[in-house]
Amino acid sequence: MTNTIGYLAIILALFLSLAGAAAAFRAAKTRSSALTLLGRRAAYGVFGLATLSILTMVFALVAHDFSVSYVAQVGSRSTPLFYTVISLWSSLDGSILFWGWILAGYTATVVYIYRDRYRELMPAVTGTLLAVNVFFWLLLAWPANPFQPVFPVPPDGPGPNPLLQNHPFMGLHPPLLYLGYVGMAVPFAFGFASLITGVVGGDWIRAVRRWIMAPWIFLTAGIVAGAWWSYEVLGWGGYWAWDPVENASFLPWLVATAFLHSIMVQERRQTLKTWNILLVIATFLLTLFGTFLTRSGILASVHAFTEGLIGPFFLGFITVVLVVSLALVAWRSDQLRSEPALDSLASRETAFLLNNLLLVAFTFTVLLGTVYPLIAEALRGVKVSVGAPYFNQMSIPIALALIFLTGVGPALPWRRGSPDLLARKFLWPVAVAVLAGLAFWLLDVRHLGAWATLVLAVFAVGLLVGEFWRPAQARRRAHGEGWSRAVLNLTAKNRRRYGGYVVHLGIVVIAVGIALSSTYRREREATLQPGETVVFSGYQIRLDSLYAGREPHREFAEAAFSVARDGRPLARMTPRMNYYPMSTQPIGTPHVRTRPTEDLYLTLMAYARDGSTATVNIIVNPMVVWIWIGGGVVALGALFAISTAAGGAEPTRSRGSSTERQAEPVEAGVGGAER
C-alpha cells in the first residue's frame, strides 16, 4: 500500500514534469499564454506529487514499514525517532528522493515568484527546470526507486549508517548542502533559457544575480557545517580531509563563486557574456558530476559503477546537458559577442578577471586531483591515491593569492584608479601589513604558509575596513552623523556591496582559522590508568574513570577525564566509543572543549576491557572556532547582500526619491575621487 502510493506519486511526477516541460518549451517558442500557464501549473503539480512521495517515505520510516525497500535498508526499530526521520537522506535512494523533492520545490518557487515577470524568459526557465525534474523522477522511477516491495517483510532493519546517527548535526548539514547543490539548477535554468530565447542581457542578469546567491549561501553553510560535523564526530581532530565527497561539494562552490563575481562585470560593462554562461553551466554540471562521483561507486573502482544503473544514468545526463548547452552557446555566439570593456589594468574589472582565473584554476586542480585515481587506473592499470598532502600543497598558493584579492578587489575602483587614490587607499594597509609581518615573525610565527596568511589577512582587512571607513567619514562630514549611524546608513544604501565586503571579511577569518589550526596543531597519545595524570601543552589531564553503558540503539564505553590548568580545574571531558549492532568497528565520539584561542580535543582510542587503562589522543587545535565564526559571518554578509525586496532593484539604482538624492554627493565624493 505504502509502496503503491509512493511509487504512483513518483510516476505521476515523472509524466507531469515531462508534459510540463514540453508545454513550457513550446510556450517559449510560440509565446502562447495557455501553454505558459500549463507549464506553470505542471511545476506546482510536480511539487505536490514530490511532497506526497516524500511524506509517504517519512511515514513509512516512522511506522517502520519494512515492506518498503528503503526502510528495510536504513530503518531499525531501535533507532531514535529523530535519526529515523533524518535517515531519509542517509542512503542512496532516499537522498535522491530528497533531492527530487528539493528540486521540485525550487521549480515551483521560481515559477511562482516570476509568474508575472520576465515573460520572455520564464517559459524556457520553467521548461528547463522541469526537464531536470524529468531526469530525477526517471531516476527515482527506475534505478533508484526507494519504494520497491520487499517480501517477505523483515521484522526489523539494520538502521542507518552508524556514522550518520552519531551526531544530531546530520539533521542540518545534508539539507543545507542539498539546498545549495540542487539550487544551482536555478541559475543554470536561467542561463539555459537565455540561450534558448536569445535574451542574453538584462533580465537574465537581474534574475540570476539573486538566484546564484541563494544556493551559494546554502552551499557555503552546508560545506562549513559539514566541516564542523567532521570535526565534532569523526575524532581525528580535523575538519577537511579532501575526501571526494567533500571535493564534490567544493567544486561547484568554487565555480559559483567565480560566477557571482564575473556576473558583476557583465552587469556593469556588458562584457564576458559567453564566459558567464559557461560558468553557470559548469556549476550545474559539477553538481551533477559530484553526485555521479560520490553516488555511483566509481571511486571505489572504475569497474564498480557499471554494476548499477545510476552511474550510467548520470553520465548520460551530464553528456546531454554538456552537448546541448555548448551547442546552444555556439548557436548564440552572435548575441553573446561583447565589446571589450576595460579602461585600465588597475581596475576592479582586472581584479575580477584574476579572481576568476584563480577560482577556475583551483577548480581544475581539485577536479584533477579527485579524478586522477580513476585516470591512472584506466590508463596505467595502477591504483593510486591523491589525498590531503597533494591538495594542501597545490591549493595553499592559490588560496593565498585569493586572500590577497579579497582585499585588493574591493579597493580597486571600476574602470580606472588614479595613482593618487590608489596610493591613499593602499598606504595604510600596506604599512600595517608590513608591521604585522614583523610582529608575527618576532612572535615566532615562522611557518611560511601561516605567516603569509596572517600578513595577507591583515592587509585585506585593512583595505576592507578602509572601504567602510572612507565613505562613512565622508557621510559624517556631509551629514554630521555619528560613526555608527554613518556606517549603518552607508551599508543600508548599498547592501549588495557592503554585504559582499562582510562576506570577504568572513572568508579572511576562515582562512586565518584554517592556517593556524592546521599549522600549529599539537597532538599526543597517552595511555593512562585511572587516577593517573598526563600533562600536555599546559593542560593536566587526569583519567578519573572508565565505564560502559547501554542506550537503545547502541552500547558505549566512556572515559571521564578532569582537565586542569595550573591546578585550577577547567572541565570534565568524556570522550567515548559507540558500538552499533550493525558495525564491526566502534564509532568514536570525541569531546571538544572550544575556546576562542584553542580547542582541547580528546578522543578515546583504546581501553583495556577490565578498565585498567585507557588510551587517549590529546589534540590542541588553535583558533579552530574562527572557521565556524567566519562561516557565520559569510552567511550573514551574504544574507544582508540579498536582503532587498525580492527580485527588486537595488535601492542605490533608483535615484528618484529626495533622500537618495541627498546621499549622492557623499557617494560622488568618494566615487568622484576614484575617477
Binding site: 569523526l234 581525528w236 565589446e339 571589450p340 589594468l345 586522477y372 591523491v386 600543497q393 598558493p397 592559490i398
Partner: protein, 163 residues
C-alpha cells in the same frame, strides 16, 4: 595610459605571490631528505615528529580518505607503531616508505610520486594557471588598447553612463 612596465610588474607580483608559497610548501620534502642522511639515535620528540611526518603521507587502508596519522582506527594505530618500530631500528624514512609501498602498492601514498605519468597531476594545474595568467594579462592589455582607441573615436559622444 598603461605603460608596459606596470603590467610586467603586476604579472611579476602575481608570479611571486604564487611561486613563493609553492616553494615554501615543497620545503618539508627536502627537509625529510636531510634528516634521512644523519642516522644518529633520535630523541623521543624527534622520533615522534618523524613518525608523524611519514604517517601523514600514508593512506589508512581501512578509512575513506584519512591518513595513517589522522585516522583513529586500530589499523592506523598499528601502522604508526610499525613506523615507530622501524625508525627505532635505524631505518631511514625513505626505507620505511619503501616498506609500505612494497606491501600495499602506490595506492598507499596520499601524494602521488612525481614520476612518469604522475607528472600530469603535478604539472597540469601549474601549466593551466600560468597559461591562464598569461592569457588573461594579454587579453586585458588588448582590451585596454582597444578601449582607448574607441574612446578616442567617440570623444564627441560624451562619457558613458556611470552606474
Amino acid at each position: 595610459m598603461t605603460s608596459p612596465p606596470r603590467e610586467i610588474l603586476t604579472l611579476l607580483t602575481f608570479a611571486v605571490l604564487v611561486a613563493v608559497p609553492c616553494a615554501a610548501f615543497t620545503e618539508p620534502a627536502s627537509r625529510g631528505q636531510e634528516t634521512a642522511v644523519q642516522a644518529a639515535p633520535l630523541s623521543d620528540a624527534e622520533l615522534e615528529a618523524r613518525v608523524r611526518e611519514i604517517a601523514s603521507e600514508l593512506r589508512c587502508p581501512t578509512c575513506r580518505a584519512l591518513s595513517v596519522q589522522d585516522s583513529p582506527s586500530g589499523m592506523a594505530e598499528e601502522m604508526r607503531g610499525l613506523i615507530r618500530e622501524q625508525l627505532r631500528a635505524g631505518k631511514t624514512p625513505e626505507e620505511v616508505r619503501a616498506y609500505f609501498l612494497e606491501r600495499y602498492g602506490e595506492w598507499i601514498l596520499l601524494k602521488p610520486k612525481a614520476e612518469g605519468f604522475n607528472w600530469a597531476v603535478w604539472l597540469l594545474p601549474v601549466v593551466a594557471l600560468a597559461g591562464g595568467l598569461v592569457f588573461v594579462m594579454l587579453t586585458a592589455r588588448r582590451w585596454v588598447q582597444q578601449g582607448q582607441a574607441r574612446a578616442a573615436a567617440l570623444t564627441q559622444k560624451g562619457p558613458e553612463e556611470e552606474i
